[in-house]
Amino acid sequence: MNKKYWHILVGIVGVLAIFSYALFFTEVTTFQPIAGMPAKLLLGIIVTVLLVLLTYLGQRIFPYHDTNKTTHE
């Protein structure tokens, strides 16, 4: 079951990447504020926080595990 959730999570991050670079962070020529903040900066902060949250979720449901310790030469 974890594998399925993990793949969904990877899909969400993939979609977020496409949206980010194809829509959110495109060039605009006018300053667009949202609640007094530049829209692109606010979006950037939201995307970063989302990614950290998804990473937190990802480490909880990651379906694979270390089997034994790494060997060194």
Partner: protein, 465 residues
């Protein structure tokens, strides 16, 4: 300020000496020296990874990047770091699996073994050497110029550089990776505290965040838009930066080694999201400092802006902390990089443990001297050179991905990486153009590598692990 400086430096050096002594062991093997006994937990792992990642480039380059190029600096680094920490969840697992299968003494040695060809390892080492040395050098130069500007009549600027590398060499040679990890922990915490104290002071002096944006909307509205006043942050630049930053753990050996030497996968995963939180916490105040500079010092050059914003405009104890914090940030990243080059050389060597350890120590000394020489004639574009370093080393990523996917990876991946690496290098040297039509060369090289690597993976699907 000098008394405060003395106090903070004494405290800082005291902690470094403690870390070196704690890490020193008479009977250690070269494995203990280079890989720190491979028992680093999530908290130490997170602090050492963060300290190696957030350096003088963050402390000095990012405020200046926000000041000159505007809000796109957040997307350039923070958003890219967000994608990188998520990628570490999968990459850390695959890397540790491969390291377990092949044995690990450095990523160059691991891929040599995997491909059954030393060419793969030497190419990896070459890319690290060529693109890390200028990056390390510019950090040492940056901090030396800053210290020289702050204390103009104390010692010449090159003496600061020499001082930094001597300190770095001493504790790295005494304690090995473990000393570096402990000192990284001290330096990461110091960086976070200092940058927030200065960032908060700058925010307060600017009248708060709303006031900053109101001011800039009138005086420099382009700083609040993409691609910024100089047109730097185009979508191509931001996308290429994101790819190069996501690939940092794949292609920069100081990070690869940290992922392998951590105690277990759970620690790696905890470290990943902790680094993500750290990234947000560290980059946010650099924006405050940068916006403060954009309002107060819009026309100043980089070193005048930094010495004003970080020193002259701050209370004496804060300014003293800033100097020590910068020194620490520079030290942690540069020693991680130089030590990583030593690790990579060691992974390509064979022979008795004593001889290999001696050669590794001499190699670290050699890299330090090269870095020192370079630092005397480098330029001052800290943030942009960091990006070049990330991009340059990332060109060899297909080699690493090949060894994660196959027991006997197709050698074609080495040739493809070599072509991309050489093309990028020649473009950096001005022999080839940096753009093709309206396209940036790095984006085109990434597209070429992604397409050909995937094609090779599809063709050789049945041989995959």
């Amino acid at each position: 300020m000098n008394n405060w400086l003395l106090v903070f430096f004494l405290l800082f050096f005291g902690l470094l000496i403690y870390a070196s002594i704690k890490s020193y062991s008479k009977n250690r093997t070269s494995d203990d020296f280079i890989l720190g006994g491979s028992s680093i937990g999530s908290i130490l792992g997170f602090l050492t990874f963060a300290a190696a990642l957030f350096s003088a480039f963050t402390f000095m380059g990012m405020p200046d990047f926000f000041r000159v190029h505007g809000i796109g600096a957040w997307v350039f680094l923070a958003v890219s770091d967000g994608f990188m920490v998520f990628f570490i969840l999968w990459f850390g697992y695959k890397l540790r699996q491969t390291a377990k299968r092949l044995g690990y003494s450095g990523i160059s040695g691991m891929v040599s073994k995997s491909y059954g060809s030393p060419a793969a390892g030497y190419l990896l080492f070459l890319s690290s050497f060529i693109f890390l040395v200028p990056y390390v050098s510019i950090q040492i130069r940056g901090i030396s110029i800053f210290l020289d500007a702050s204390f103009p009549d104390l010692i010449p600027f090159w003496a600061w550089s020499v001082g930094i590398v001597i300190i770095m060499l001493i504790y790295a040679q005494i304690g090995g990776l473990k000393a570096i990890v402990y000192s990284d922990a001290i330096q990461a915490l110091l960086l976070l505290v200092v940058i927030w104290i200065i960032g908060y002071a700058c925010l307060k002096m600017s009248g708060g965040l709303s006031q900053i944006f109101e001011n800039l909307a009138v005086t420099q509205p382009q700083l609040l838009e993409l691609p910024g006043p100089k047109g730097l942050f185009t979508w191509q630049f931001l996308l290429a930066s994101a790819i190069s930053i996501v690939l940092i753990p794949v292609s920069q050996p100081q990070f690869t080694t940290r992922l392998v030497v951590m105690k277990d996968l759970k620690s790696v995963h905890k470290m990943a999201y902790a680094v993500g939180i750290f990234a947000i916490l560290v980059i946010l105040p650099t924006a405050f400092i940068g916006f403060y500079g954009a309002i107060k010092y819009p026309e100043a050059n980089t070193s005048d802006f930094l010495s004003s914003a970080l020193l002259s405009d701050q209370a004496a104890p804060v300014a003293a902390l800033a100097v020590v914090g910068l020194f620490a940030a520079c030290l942690s990243t540069t020693n991680a990089q130089i030590f990583a080059l030593g690790t990579e050389i060691r992974s390509l060597l064979s022979g008795s443990d004593n001889v290999v350890m001696l050669k590794t120590r001499l190699a670290i000394l050699f890299f330090t001297v090269v870095v020192l020489v370079f630092s005397t004639f480098m330029g001052n574009e800290l943030a942009l050179l960091a990006k070049v370093s990330f991009t340059g080393t990332s060109m060899i990523s297909p080699i690493v991905f090949g060894s994660l996917r196959y027991r006997k990876p197709p050698i074609l991946l080495v040739y493809l990486s070599a072509v991309a690496f050489l093309t990028f290098l020649l473009a950096m040297l001005g022999v080839l153009p940096n753009t093709v039509g309206t396209w940036q060369l790095d984006i085109l090289l990434y597209a070429f590598l992604a397409f050909t690597t995937l094609l090779i993976f599809v063709i050789n699907k049945k041989d995959a692990n």
